[in-house]
C-alpha cells in the first residue's frame, strides 16, 4: 500500500502513521463547553466507504496529511497537506 505524499511522491505505508480522523482539525473554542468537547474528543463517524484521516509522514518529510481513503476497497483516493486543509477551513470561517 502506498500513499502519495504531496511533498515526497508515492511512498510506502511504513513511512506513515495514522493519527485519527480528520475531524481533529476542527478543534472547538476552548470555552465551547463540555458537550461540544465531548463530541470532538470521543465521537466519530465510522463509515464503510470514503473517510478523511490525518496521517503523519514521520519517517519522511514530517508533513501532516489529510488522506482520503476507502475503508471497503482500501483505495487511497488522495492526500493533501493538513496545513492547507486547515487554512481553507479558516478562510471559509
Amino acid at each position: 500500500m502506498k500513499i502519495s505524499c504531496p511533498i515526497c511522491g508515492d511512498r510506502d505505508i511504513r513511512e506513515f502513521t495514522c493519527m485519527g480522523h480528520a475531524s481533529m482539525l476542527n478543534r472547538p473554542d476552548p470555552h465551547a463547553g463540555a458537550k461540544v468537547w465531548n463530541e470532538y474528543l470521543h465521537n466519530r463517524e465510522n463509515p464503510a466507504g470514503v473517510i478523511d484521516e490525518l496521517w503523519w509522514h514521520g519517517q519522511g518529510c514530517g508533513a501532516w496529511l489529510v488522506v482520503t481513503r476507502n475503508t471497503v476497497t482500501h483505495e487511497i483516493l488522495g492526500a493533501r497537506l493538513a496545513r492547507d486543509v486547515k487554512k481553507e477551513m479558516r478562510d471559509a470561517g
Binding site: I7, C8, G9, D10, R11, D12, R14, E15, G58, Q59, G60, C61, G62, A63
Partner: protein
Amino acid sequence: MVKLIAKSAAEGLLPVEVAGVRVEEIVAPLASLSPFQGQDAALGKALKKAHGVVLPKAGQITQAGEVSCHWFGLNHVMLMGAAPDASLAKVAAVTDQSDAWCRVRMTGEAARDVLARLTPIDLRDAALPVGATARTDIQHMSGALTRVGEDVWEVMVFRSVARTLVHDLTTSLETVAGIAEMRSA
C-alpha cells in the same frame, strides 16, 4: 575536571570495504535551517550571499565547492560543510547538528543493490537521479538518502544508531557480494 574525548559518530567502525563497495564516514559541520514563516525567499538570499549555495527544492541538493545544502523535510534544509553564517539566524531557526547525525558515503557499482535491501523507496535513475535526496526509512531507522554521484550515495541516520547502520550496511554488502559470487560460480 572530567576529560572528554571527541569522537566521530562512526569512529572505529568505518571505513569498510566489501566486494568493491567502500563505506566511509563523512565528518563535517552540519546545521539545520528552518525558515521562519514566509521567510523562504529571504533564507534563499541569505544562503546564496553567505555560502554561495541556492536553497534546494524538495527532494534536491545544491552545492557550491565544499558547501552543500540538502533538503531535509517540510520547511527544513541542512547546511553541510560550513559553519552557518550569523546572517542566516535572522530569517531561519538555525541549529548546530554536527554531532547529532552519522553521515556515511557509499561508493561502488553494487551500492544501489545494497541500499535496495534496506529502504522501501525507488532507487532507480528515474526516481532518484544524481542530486536527488529523500527522507525515508533505512532498516526501520529514520534517515536520509542522497545520490551524490552515479555510484556514490550518502546515508544519514541519528548518531545513536550509527553502529546499527554500519552493521546493516555491512550485512547487506556481504549478502549482495555473496549473491554475485554464487551467480558467477
